[in-house]
């Protein structure tokens, strides 16, 4: 199992003391149709942006809760890793962005019929958010509204 032993002592102590949020009650959406008929969107918190998009703002206290829209047809190599964390090895996602933003994998799933379709846009967040109030109050509901308007049925969320 992944654990915190990969982190520095300072980060381990921070994580131990951190007041993790607790989702209660836990929402539960029905699976409205088989996955083979469902539209899927990706959400990655790997902090990736496209050239020309504003980078995530590392100076915002508590973290940048904004998100970027990533077209489904994006060539993974176009994605730029802007994640500010130095507590993980960036070489994997830099050599293959599918590792944290599996654009090509989900297109392959749709081609095989495992899922019905891939939404025209995916969403990219910066996961280094220690004060998530704005995330849960503003940006995550706004992100959900976009995907509801796109008639997305299911979402796969990938941290880094």
């Amino acid at each position: 199992m992944g654990d915190t032993s990969e982190f520095s002592l300072a980060i381990r102590l921070f994580l131990r003391a951190y007041p993790w949020r607790r989702i209660d009650p836990v929402p539960w959406a029905p699976l409205k149709k088989p996955l083979s008929q469902s539209r899927l969107a990706l959400v990655s918190t790997a902090g990736m942006v496209l050239p020309g998009q504003p980078r995530f703002d590392e100076t915002i206290k508590g973290g940048d809760c904004s998100f970027r829209e990533i077209p489904a047809a994006t060539v993974p190599g176009q994605l730029v890793d802007t994640h500010r964390s130095e507590s993980f090895d960036h070489r994997g996602v830099q050599s293959d962005p599918n590792l944290a933003f599996p654009l090509e994998r989900v297109l392959e799933l749709a081609a095989r019929g495992r899922i019905g379709s891939v939404n025209d846009r995916h969403l990219s967040f910066m996961g280094s958010i220690t004060a998530p109030g704005r995330l849960t109050r503003d940006s995550a509901p706004a992100a959900a509204a976009l995907l509801v308007a796109d008639e997305v049925d299911v979402a796969l969320l990938v941290p880094v």
Partner: protein, 102 residues
């Protein structure tokens, strides 16, 4: 913090009718934050889909996540541990594999 962020975003999506599955790299974060559905992975941070340049291994993780997404009935929250063999063969056979490793 990435682990908490995906869990919190998942909950907001779920409240609005989008069914979600979150990958998590720290099981204890998912236990505390309680996203609706999560697959706990044994990989280090930076490697959520196992390995770069390895589409079959990446597909195995995604397939396991899709099986968590499909799992019914279940009492929320649903937290499933990755096990070797989950999602195996998904690229080879195109099958849905099994929800539980044998």
């Amino acid at each position: 913090m990435c682990n908490q962020a995906v869990c919190l975003v998942a909950a907001e999506f779920e409240r609005r009718g989008i069914r979600t599955v979150a990958l998590v790299l720290l099981r204890e974060v998912a236990e505390r934050v309680r996203p609706p559905r999560a697959l706990a992975l044994p990989f280090p941070h930076g490697y959520p889909l196992d390995a770069p340049g390895e589409p079959a291994r990446q597909h195995a993780v995604i397939e396991a996540a899709l099986q968590v997404l499909e799992r019914e009935p279940a009492t929320p929250p649903l937290l499933v541990d990755w096990a070797n063999g989950m999602g195996a063969g998904s690229m080879v056979s195109g099958s849905q594999g099994t929800a539980s490793p044998t």
